[in-house]
Symmetry: C2
Subunit: 151 residues, 2 copies
Amino acid sequence: MGVLPDDLACFAVHVAARELDNAYRPALRELGLTYPQYMTMLVLWDRDPQTVKELGAALRFDSGTLSPLLKRLEAAGFVTRERSTTDERSVLVRLTTRGRKLEERGKDLVAKVFSTFHYSDRDAEHLHEEMRKLVAALDEHAAEFGRGARG
Amino acid sequence: MGVLPDDLACFAVHVAARELDNAYRPALRELGLTYPQYMTMLVLWDRDPQTVKELGAALRFDSGTLSPLLKRLEAAGFVTRERSTTDERSVLVRLTTRGRKLEERGKDLVAKVFSTFHYSDRDAEHLHEEMRKLVAALDEHAAEFGRGARG
DNA sequence: CACATTTTAGTTGTGTACAACTAAGTTGCT
DNA sequence: AGCAACTTAGTTGTACACAACTAAAATGTG
């Protein structure tokens, strides 16, 4: 009769995101990281240091999410935070030796976890393409109707 | 050089879920609901009353998520909660008149929001199919490696 | 230079999510 | 009947995620 969550694509996206989180959790637990923290470390392993703003752009997190997350990474000893000397509004996030060393164990974790559920590279790429299409549509929607709207 | 979040399908799923949330937020705000609360109301509009366990199965929420959510729906005057008389472990969640009346305004909200970003019915069905495939793989993975593992 | 505007991080408050646990009720087995 | 095992909700603690706000520093304009 009525529409149920299971009938909705948007609900399925939410379920998939949560279950992906759950699938990664055991492996990440051994690194002492959550999934968003792991994504943050990936960005820093690629380039170090980076400002909070740059990290936020790469992760699509605002400061309300990123600031406390970085404080936890700092408390865990993976990063340091220091005001930029050239622009004192910015904060530079920098890997510690411990944080840099974690890359060895964290590097191929995604591929390892993804391979445990039966998802080939082709499947993953197909999934990725579908997500890119959805996110592009949502970004366009946000630009039109979102907070930055022009009327 | 390194792998970045944008290279990962799993990250794209998370981004999509969050941006879907943001896309629904303005419309849901007018109903006084969050997205998970709206999903809960959909389940109740379809069948009323239902136990917390049944709602949890339909929404894939555990009691730690659902109990406080239902308390907020109760505080907002959309549902009542009462112990089942036949099995006093169970709690029956029942729509109030106000909760039932909300269906008129909430019924076609999904279709309305989805149509504002350029997603045809065919696009949505394609997306849904891709998500079903991923969730099925994750469910299988959870059954094998998750908490209920048999070894 | 003076000062409004913008940029950058952080804080507070609300609401998911999940792990680990508790309390109470029911069922199954002998 | 008696009691262990299980089921059902709820609670506590941690961690995202976003809105709304604040504080401080930089930028732009007359």
